[in-house]
């Protein structure tokens, strides 16, 4: 137990760290950039959330560490919040004395205005400190709530915030649905929700979440699936499938384009998931296969480069073949490498491919920095899959095939060999697994899906440029499978939607996506390394102690097992 005085010191320290985080977010510019993006119109913006959230979280952490549940805890939170506020106040004060903007481009008047709530200096800082203290108090109060109410509340707030953020998407979608329009118009202001609808949503979603919580507790008692439940399950799946098929119609051209990108990343994610998730080979040069697929497609179908341009379908087997072959070529030299070395060599491979494509040396064959234009897109009979809305179906088919293959592979002999290699290479070898063939097959199947993604990417843009195949693409794909949960197939879908979809929809966010990715990767590894939708086996591996600890010791059936005396 901490001594009483040290609790308060701890609270101030924790608050100062929270303030420092908030300060960093301010100076990085994310606060001002999202300051106009309202969640509840006129009440709170996304930018303000970025200031409040660290204060709230660190105050909550203080309260939790203090481990007391009294009025003192609330005071602790307020102290933590106040010290966070003091740091921000110091920033404003400093900004008045010297021109911080000479160094920090984002220490703008807009930032000061946002932090002082548009008031003059004195009252503004006073209000800021007050709000910070109250925020800290609320953070600590969260700790005092019973666990299930806290969970429900957080869930509800997150959902309402998400709906507020997705205003543009919901507005666009609802335009095709006559009867919904007035409701949607009532709900949303020019940016974000209206105050009234926010309260309404809070109540409704909170109610649902609470009700579901109650049900999930009952469900624990009777877990057997009745026939009725099975019907419901199939019904939901059918509706979901219908929605997925209708999606481009519902969303319109602009959002279909985003949807295509998300789809391509999911496709690549499914491939990388085999390499990283199943076989445990960290591949940072995954973009190379994507590039190879796109460029092979380009070289074979573009009238600029090919003597006899092929159609998309004729060129596809060649493109996939070249991608798989390059997977084999990369796989060979790295067979003996593990972990970190493998990561950096594959990274080098990705860069070599990009540098070669960009070089003047190969310009006559690959187009150099100007890239390749007029790449063919898929056509089946009268159906032209050139537009974003039509190409979606080809990508969807690709994802469906990839998912099917991945699911089938996962529990096959090969899949189990991959997992054995991932867990312990030496033991796997000793058990008679051919590590050469197994590893090469992992690289080759990963390359296959990336190559397929590449051909579709080239078809979508009808062009391929070296700039499209940066190292960042590999990082995007890696992030999405890690967020989703390494080795987990539904995790890839979730990761793709969250990581690729959200930043595209929240345009203001795009500038900061890599900042957020980086932070998310670190926080994820620190707190929840198994991902959002983890594979069962990996969850066990990473939380061995936690899974085993709460179980009670099994009661000995016999006092004297084995007949020993």
């Amino acid at each position: 137990m901490l001594r009483k005085s040290s609790i308060w010191v701890e609270a101030i320290r924790s608050g100062l760290i929270g303030g420092a985080v908030a300060l960093l977010l301010c100076l990085v510019g994310i606060v001002v950039a999202l300051g106009q993006k309202m969640i509840i119109s006129g009440v709170i913006s996304m930018g303000q959330i970025f200031v409040i959230a660290p204060i709230l979280i660190f105050a909550y952490a203080t309260a939790r560490r203090a481990a007391t549940k009294t009025v003192d805890t609330l005071l602790l939170g307020a102290v933590a919040g106040l010290s966070s506020g003091a740091i921000l106040a110091a920033l404003i004060g400093l900004g008045q004395v010297i021109n911080l903007r000479a160094m920090f481009v984002n220490a703008s008047p807009d930032l000061y205005k946002l932090l002082t709530f548009g008031l003059t200096l004195g009252p503004g800082i006073a209000l800021l400190l007050g709000v910070a203290a109250i925020t800290g108090l609320i953070g600590a109060a969260f700790h005092l709530l019973p666990a299930h109410i806290r969970g429900t509340l957080i869930q509800t707030i997150l959902w309402v915030a998400l709906i507020g953020l997705l205003r543009d998407l919901i507005m666009t979608v609802s335009q095709n649905w006559g009867p919904v329009i007035p409701l949607v118009k009532w709900m949303f202001a020019a940016s974000g929700l209206t105050l009234l609808s926010a309260i309404f949503l809070l109540v409704v979603i909170g109610g649902i979440a609470y009700w579901r919580y109650g049900r999930s507790r009952q469900a624990h008692i009777s877990k057997q699936r009745t026939k009725q439940q099975q019907w419901i399950r199939w019904g939901t799946l059918a509706v979901l499938a219908l929605i997925i098929i209708m999606l481009p119609r519902i969303l319109g051209i602009f959002f279909s384009d985003i949807l295509d990108n998300v789809g391509l990343y999911i496709l690549m994610g499914l491939g990388l998931n085999i390499v990283v998730g199943f076989a445990g080979l960290l591949d940072l040069g995954y973009v190379a296969f994507f590039a190879i697929g796109a460029y092979t497609m380009g070289v074979l179908t573009s009238p600029e480069l090919a003597a006899t341009p092929l159609t998309y379908w004729q060129a596809l087997p060649f493109a996939l073949g070249v991608a798989v072959l390059s997977g084999f070529v990369l796989g060979l030299p790295v067979l003996k490498m593990r972990g970190d070395y493998l990561a950096i060599v594959t990274l080098g491979f990705g860069e070599i491919v990009r540098l070669l494509v960009l070089s003047d040396w190969l310009r006559p064959w690959l187009g150099g920095a100007q890239g390749i234009q007029h790449i063919a897109h898929p056509v089946i009979g009268p159906l032209d899959f050139g537009s974003q809305q039509m190409l979606y179906y080809v990508i969807l088919a690709g994802i469906a095939i990839a998912t099917f293959i991945a699911i089938r592979l996962k529990d096959s002999r090969l899949g189990r060999s991959w997992m054995a290699l991932r867990e312990d290479e030496d033991v796997a070898k000793a058990m008679g697994i051919n590590h050469v063939a197994t590893k090469l097959l992992a690289f080759m199947s990963g390359a296959f899906f990336a190559g397929l993604g590449g051909t579709l990417f080239a078809a979508k843009l009808s062009s391929a440029y070296p700039q499209s195949f940066q190292f960042l693409v590999s990082i995007n794909v890696l992030s999405l499978i890690i967020i989703g949960g390494m080795g987990s197939i539904p995790g890839v879908l979730v990761g793709g939607l969250v990581l690729m979809g959200l930043p595209e929809i929240l345009r203001e966010f795009a500038e900061y996506r890599y900042l957020v990715y980086g932070a998310v990767l670190v926080v994820m590894m620190l707190t929840r390394p198994e991902g959002l939708w983890p594979e069962a086996r990996r969850r066990l591996e990473l939380h061995e102690e936690k899974e085993l600890a709460p179980r009670e010791e099994p009661q000995p059936v016999l006092k004297n097992p084995g007949g020993r005396r």
Partner: protein, 353 residues
């Protein structure tokens, strides 16, 4: 012995050796053709050599960060590129302020020292924060976990500095007394390159002395040998690890200032390529080995600056210097295949990694 050796040859070995031989063949043929064509005068080669040594010196100092951390934690600090970037990108503000006040050209030595100290301090602080926040909680996690954390941290730092200081390029002011050339033994040498080479050697010597001859260096080596035993001997392992990160940061900060003497432009993405090369250099020399990092870096610097003209020009490749980064990566792959222990190192990729 011979029989077992024959039995152990597999298809993959043959393929790998074929790749290796093909690359050696390209290098030899290219070199002969280039030299026969007589396209370049000897003075060109000398210039390229000195340039290579200067670049190699920068790589050596960055490589120190990788090597020190690897020696102790057996992990590759992927975010070291951002440790390297953070120093010079912050010190540029001091440099410009000094240039505006005219102090830079009045007292070039003192102001360069101040700029270097600031750069070192910032890099060291970033390295220590990185260790404290991202790596320490994961010290006993499965291997992939800290690696992914490092990649995440790297991106976070890059885009944090982009947000803080803006996304554009920033130029360093030129020091007038460092412009032009010196005549050393009848050879015209750029002053900046000379300063970089001398600075790098000096800094390497200091680092080597710290690791080899001070008490804390001894503790570092002890922790590197065996963490538990070192702890039992009364060494505070956490402090030693923090010190190691700080030392790597100081070295990277110094490397940053030497780097901007060669290429006086900073931006948030500047760390990526030099750091990958430095990592290659560390592996080339034998990672975990301080003199190895120096030897490897100098060698890589030379290969990269002479290589494109020497190996590729003779083969009729247009603008071979575009491919100098590719050469570095190919070198990395080749060492990891044929001599993973590096030039001066112990064998590690299979046993400890």
């Amino acid at each position: 012995m011979l029989r077992t050796w024959r039995q152990r040859i597999t298809f993959t070995d043959i393929m790998i050796w074929a790749i290796g031989l093909a690359i050696v063949g390209v290098v030899v043929v290219g070199t002969i053709k280039t030299l026969q064509s007589g396209k370049y005068e000897p003075s060109v080669w000398l210039d390229l050599t000195i340039k290579g040594l200067a670049v190699g010196g920068v790589y050596a100092l960055i490589a120190m960060g990788y090597t020190l951390v690897y020696g102790i934690l057996r992990m590759i600090n992927f975010a070291h590129s951002e440790v390297f970037m953070s120093g010079p990108i912050t010190a540029v503000f001091l440099a410009n302020a000094l240039a505006q006040s005219g102090f830079l050209n009045k007292q070039p030595l003192l102001s360069m020292l101040l700029i270097t100290l600031l750069s070192m301090a910032v890099s060291a602080v970033v390295a220590m924060l990185l260790e404290r926040i991202a790596y320490r909680p994961l010290r006993y996690a499965p291997r992939l976990v800290p690696l992914i954390t490092a990649i995440g941290a790297s991106f976070f730092l890059q885009y944090t500095f982009r947000g803080l200081y803006g996304s554009g390029f920033k130029g360093y002011p030129t020091v007038t007394s460092l412009q032009g050339t010196w005549n050393i033994f009848g050879v015209e040498v750029f002053k900046t390159q000379t300063v970089v080479i001398i600075g790098a050697i000096l800094m390497m010597a200091i680092l080597y002395a710290i690791v080899q001859w001070t008490k804390i260096g001894k503790a570092m080596r002890a922790v590197s040998e065996d963490k538990e035993a070192a702890e039992l001997m009364g060494i505070n392992v956490d402090n030693i690890i923090v010190f190691t990160f700080a030392l790597g940061g100081v070295s990277a900060g110094a490397a940053g200032i030497l780097y901007i003497l060669l290429f006086p432009i900073v931006w948030f993405y500047m760390g990526f390529i030099p750091s990958i090369k430095a990592f290659t250099a560390a592996v080339l020399g034998g990672i975990g080995n301080v003199p190895g990092a120096f030897v490897g870096a100098m060698l890589l610097g030379l290969l990269e600056s002479i290589g494109p003209n020497l190996f590729l020009d003779g083969l009729g490749i247009l603008n071979p210097s575009q491919l100098k980064d590719a050469i570095a990566f190919i070198v990395l792959v080749l060492i990891l295949i044929f001599r993973p222990s590096g030039i001066l190192g112990e064998r590690i990729t299979e046993t400890k990694a």
